[in-house]
Amino acid sequence: GAGVSQSPSNKVTEKGKDVELRCDPISGHTALYWYRQSLGQGLEFLIYFQGNSAPDKSGLPSDRFSAERTGGSVSTLTIQRTQQEDSAVYLCASSQLAGGPFHEQYFGPGTRLTVT
């Protein structure tokens, strides 16, 4: 079946503009995760969804970042008033369940965001 898809694959925006990044999880996966990967760094957890609710938003770096998930499927990560430090690859992952024992997270190819 289809894997996790993300769009756009690359986005260049001017400082101060808003951007929306989209994630389509694997069909049937109830959990969805967003990560940020800055150059030379590991993945930084941002937020995860169980269904449409977000039990853990602790990783969102500022109030300029928000995310939503509708219909238990597609998720959108929105960054308002982008700054140059927001430049990174944003990765989305999904898993069948969340919590408890290990549930493999399947990752999308990411969106590379460049803020000029």
Binding site: Y33, L43, P55, D56, P101, F102, Q105, F107, P109
Partner: protein, 112 residues
């Protein structure tokens, strides 16, 4: 809180040889798991191997195996019979309560 340290930024191995990638971690969780993900140039993260912390036997997946030393909080990855397709960035990490924490990664190159 969870932290993961990968102290080697890059390593190189000759094709068909064996290489070990090191990783140490710290966690306040009592029920957690450990994993290694691979990220080739395509950016697609792929799970290589994982192990629940309560299991004493080291996990093995074909040419990939781990050496889990719980007391030392060490979780190294051994790749046997290295292949050109193994060249990638490798991330070690821990997970608990749906939250994964990753190290900074190590770039592995494979010499033909």
């Amino acid at each position: 809180a969870q932290t993961v340290t990968q102290s080697q930024p890059e390593m190189s191995v000759q094709e068909a040889e064996t290489v070990t990638l090191s990783c140490t971690y710290d966690t306040s969780e009592s029920d957690y798991y450990l994993f290694w993900y691979k990220q080739p140039p395509s950016r697609q993260m792929i799970l290589v191997i994982r192990q629940e912390a309560y299991k004493q036997q080291n996990a093995t997946e074909n040419r990939f195996s781990v050496n889990f030393q719980k007391a030392a909080k060490s979780f190294s990855l051994k790749i046997s019979d290295s292949q050109l397709g193994d060249a990638a960035m490798y991330f070690c990490g821990t997970g608990a309560n749906s939250k994964l924490t990753f190290g900074k990664g190590i770039t592995l190159s494979v010499r033909p």
